[in-house]
Each structure stands twice: as C-alpha cells, then as structure tokens.
C-alpha cells in the first residue's frame, strides 16, 4: 500500500459519520431487508400482521436464533459445528425419556443440558487437543449423537412426560407477558452473549483466535481450553433449544432437528459471521434467523409453493455474502 492510499484511508475513517459506520455492516442491510419484507407482507396480506401469525413466526425463528448465537461463537472462533441439529434431538430425548419415566422437571432439564454439554466437550477436546478438523469431528458427532438419541428412545415417539408434563409444555409452548417463551430465552441469551463478546477476555480471545490463531497462541492465550469452551457453548444453545422444542411440539420423534444445522449456519452467515473466522455478532445471528423465517412465512402466506423455499433462502445466503465481499474488496483497494 502506498503512502497516498494510507493517508486517504486515515481520512476516510476519520470522517466517517455514525451513519456511515452503521451502514457499513452487513447486519444493517439484512435487518433492513427483514423489516421491509415484514412491511410489504403486512400490506399485501391481511394474515401476516395478525397476532397469531406473528406469535408463530417469532417462536419459530427463536429456535433457530438461539442456536445461531452459539454457532456465531464457533464460526467467529474459526470453526464450524455440524452436530447442533443432532444435539437438539439428544437433549429433547433425554428430557423426554427421564420425565416420562416419572422424573421431575428439575432433573430432566438439567440432565438434557448436561448431555448437550458433553457433546460439546467431546467435539471441543477432539478438535483442540487432538488437532482434528472441526468439520470432520462435528460431522461424525452429527451421526453418532442422533444415533444415540434413537437408541435412547428405541426410536419411538414420546408424548407423555409424567407428573411435570404441564410445566414442560408451558416452558416451550407457553408465553410470558404476551411473548412466546422461546423468544424471551433468545433475547436473554443474545444480551448475555453480546456482553461476553464485547466486554470479557473470553470474547476478546475468541475473536483473536478466529482472526489469527497462531498469534493468539504466541501471545499466551490458552487457545485449546478456549476452543473447548466455544464448542460447549454452541452445544449448550442446542440443548436449550431441544428442551424448549419438546414443550412446543408436545412430543418428540427422532427426526427432530434434522437438517437444522444448515438453517443455523445460514442464519449466522446471513447475519455477518465470516466462515474464515474473526467476525460475527449475537444481534446478527438473530437478524439472520429472522430473515430466514420471514421468507419462509411469506412464501406460505402469499400462496407460493413451499418448494421454492430453498431457492429463496439459498439465494439470500449467497447475496448476503456477495454483498460483504464486494464491500471489503472496495475498502481494501
């Protein structure tokens, strides 16, 4: 880079207003797209803005959003976690099997979360201490963990949850102050994660590791332990979703969460997480999940064949990343 472009670059960054800073983020444009889609749908259909539809949309996107937050942490650290969909069904099965056997909810839910955490620890240890590629380890876990859930339930549907059935159903299916519970969980989790990312060493080191793992190691950051913690975090978010989905669906089958890892990764990427590592925000994960759900919902409401869903969501992934790519090309010139 020559001296001219250097001083130009300094000028540019000095004279950038708050508005310019906001509009330079991919998340802003995705958010705008989601808001515009919502507005258009409210005008075009009389069903979108109905309370019932909004309730459903917000609950549906909350499930993907919760895991997308965990996935954003993994992606920002430079990894990937393909096992989250299977972790959802394992966590759901553990809580369902225990409670249908008569255990109270305060045993069932912690046990489900513990099972999820163990999956994360398994992934994390193999990736950081055995130095195996995250893609391969979590692809293996995707298969192993779903199989465990099948063994656990004997591949049967479970829809009776013992003495605490009502509590479990209202946890995932109920609402508080008019808002669906999963949405509230999403909001709390996002706030905590945003805080962790910005204000703690854990967050700082996670982004440093995603930006340049070797540098992180040279500066004495405990890279291995940090990696394990990141995979535990993403598995934990999948565990929470598993427990909430049981309550919402009122029953568990072993195909729960199948293919969910792809929607989750899509949400994280649309929300600005870079698969090369080093970038991503909790808010972006939510916005990405929201946009996907709004697209899905709008196709149904507008009477377009659901076969088109994949085409729309897929195009948005590519558009969002292409947009970011062009922007970074322009700024690096």
């Amino acid at each position: 880079m020559s001296a001219d472009t250097l001083s130009e670059a300094i000028d540019r960054s000095e004279h950038r207003s708050a508005l310019a800073r906001i509009t330079s983020h991919q998340t802003f444009w995705v958010f705008l797209a989601a808001v515009l889609a919502c507005l258009a749908l409210s005008l075009l259909t009389d069903t979108f803005a109905s309370e019932r539809n909004l309730f459903n949309v917000s609950r549906n996107f909350a499930f993907v959003g919760i895991i997308a937050i965990g996935m954003t942490a993994v992606i920002a650290s430079g990894g990937i976690d393909l096992s989250v969909g299977s972790t959802v069904v394992l966590s759901a099965m553990v809580v369902a099997v225990l409670m249908s056997a008569g255990q109270p909810i305060w045993i069932g839910v912690p046990a489900a979360l513990l099972a999820a955490i163990l999956v994360g620890a398994f992934n994390g240890v193999l990736i950081s201490y055995a130095g195996m590629p995250p893609f391969v380890v979590t692809l293996g876990a995707l298969s192993v963990v779903r199989s465990l859930a099948m063994v656990l339930s004997d591949n049967k549907m479970i829809y009776e949850f013992g003495p605490d059935t009502r509590l479990l159903l209202s946890l995932g299916g109920g609402s508080t102050l008019g808002l669906p519970n999963p949405l509230i969980v999403l909001a709390i989790l996002a706030a905590i994660t945003a805080f962790l990312f910005k204000w703690t060493r854990w967050g700082q080191h996670l982004f440093a590791m995603g930006g340049n793992e070797q540098a992180a190691q040279l500066t004495g950051i405990p890279v291995r332990r940090l990696k394990v913690s990141v995979y535990i975090f993403s598995a934990f978010t999948a565990g929470i979703t598993g427990v909430l989905e049981v309550g919402w669906l009122g029953g568990v089958t072993t195909n729960l969460g199948q293919g969910m890892e792809l929607s989750v990764i899509a949400a994280a990427v649309i929300g600005g997480a870079n698969l090369a590592g080093g970038t991503g925000t909790a808010f972006g994960a939510i916005v990405g999940a929201l946009l996907i759900e709004v697209i899905r919902n709008s196709l149904i409401l507008l009477g377009i064949s659901t076969f088109w869903q994949g085409a729309f969501v897929g195009s948005f992934i590519i558009i969002a990343v292409a947009f970011d790519r062009f922007r970074s090309l322009r700024s690096s010139e």
């Binding site: 060493r201 440093a208 995603g210 930006g211 040279l218």
Partner: protein, 246 residues
C-alpha cells in the same frame, strides 16, 4: 544496563549442527545486526534465545546470572520479546486490543470484571507517542500499513517492559517509505535502553541502524564487529565465505 550473554551455544538436530560454539553479548542501548545466508543459523539462534529450543550445549546468562529457558514464556518473563516476521497480530482487532492481547486491562463494575477499553486505548496512545508513531489505537490492524503494523508489534514489547527485543526480518515485506519508519522505531527502542537484535537480509537497513554486526555462516559466528570498523563489502564476503573470518 542489561546484558544478555551467550557462551559457546551449540544446537544439533540429529546430525545437523545448526549452531556451533556461538558466543555473543547483547547489551542494552545497542542494536545488533545479525546477518547470514539462508540456513546459516539465524533463526535457530533466535529460537534458542527466545526459549523455543533448548541449546544442546553452552550457557546463557542475563546480567551475570545463568538462565535456562524451557519454554517461550520463561524467556518473556526474563524480559526477552520476539517480533516475528509474519507479525503475530490479529487483523480483525484494533491496535489497542492487539497491544494488550493476552494481558488485557480489566475494571470492576459491580460484580463484573469487564475489559477496560478506555484504559487500554490511553495506554496504547502513550506507547505510540513514545515510539513517535502516528498509529492510532482504535484503528483496525487490517486497515494499517506495514510500518504501522510493526509499530503495533513493537508497542507490545514496550508494554511488557522487555529488555531484549529480537526482530526477525522486520523490513522484508514493506515499502521503502515504511522501511524508514520501522528503522526509526528500532532507534526509539534503543534510545529507551532496550537491546535490539535485528535479523535482516537487507544490508542498507543493517548499516543504517545497527551499532554492531554479527555474521553467522553455517552455524558458526564468523564476525562480530562495530559498524565503524567494517563495510558492506566485507560483510558480504563474510556471509558468502569469500572472507573466512574477521
């Protein structure tokens, strides 16, 4: 005044003798240019000093006290810092975050201990001022020039109160104007009483900034001269082997 002394350091990798009986003294307030062809043992020597490799034989001492580094962190605690060629910095973080990476300043807010961004920015600004660099603490490293990146890496060493700074080819991949910037940074370090070892292939840079020049050839130290008593021609001869010893 600090002195790092190497006495008869040898390092063998199986049958390969990477370093043979190297004795060298590095003093604070002095820039030592370390030169040699590829494979002459420069990197091995740096890694021995930085604690990456234990020497096969020989002794290192700081201010007369014997030291024996098993890991890089032990060398760092003794005041030895390395600025790597492929700069160990994270492009996606700000300059201040990079300077403080791994040793962040924290402050207490109620029950939480959170990162003290303002404190780190102020301290980083001070360090850049000491280095007379125009690098700004809030800027992302991704947007910086090669010279500014060097300033970030060097500010890290100032933060840790390093007494000995080893720089591995700091001017290898940057433009001419930025080379001048980096050489100024090296002079600033020297003027702050730090001993600098500059590993470089670039003769003009070494002659510009170094007080002494040491030449390694095939693992042996073949010269260790004050800059005034030698010339680029002589050093070239020593590196290639046209001149046996000086």
């Amino acid at each position: 005044m600090s002195t790092l002394q190497l006495d008869n350091i040898s390092k063998h990798f199986g049958a390969i003798h990477a370093l043979i009986d190297v004795s060298l003294t590095i003093k604070s307030g002095e820039v030592l240019g370390l030169m040699g062809d590829n494979g002459a043992g420069k990197s091995t020597l740096v890694k021995v000093i930085a604690g990456n490799f234990a020497p096969t034989s020989g002794q290192m001492s700081i201010d007369g006290g014997k030291v024996d580094f098993r890991r890089p962190i032990e060398a760092q605690r003794a005041g030895i810092e390395v600025v790597y060629q492929d700069l160990a910095i994270c492009n996606n973080l700000s300059a201040a975050s990079n300077v403080f990476l791994g040793r962040e300043m924290m402050r207490q807010i109620g029950p939480f201990r959170i990162l003290d961004y303002a404190g780190m920015r102020d301290r980083t600004a001070e360090l850049f001022k000491r280095l007379k660099s125009e690098t700004r603490p809030r800027d992302l490293v991704r947007r910086m020039s090669g010279g500014q990146r060097q300033a970030v890496a060097i500010a890290r060493t100032l933060l840790s109160d390093a007494r000995f700074v080893l720089m591995d080819e700091p001017t290898a991949a940057i433009s001419v104007r930025q080379v001048a910037e980096v050489l100024n940074l090296i002079r600033q370090l020297r003027d702050h009483g730090i001993a600098v070892v500059l590993i470089s292939h670039r003769m003009p840079d070494v002659f510009d900034v170094a007080d002494r020049i040491a030449v390694l050839r095939r693992g042996r130290l073949v010269a260790n001269k004050r800059i005034a008593t030698t010339s680029p021609e002589e050093i070239t001869g020593l590196i290639t082997g046209a001149i046996e010893l000086a």
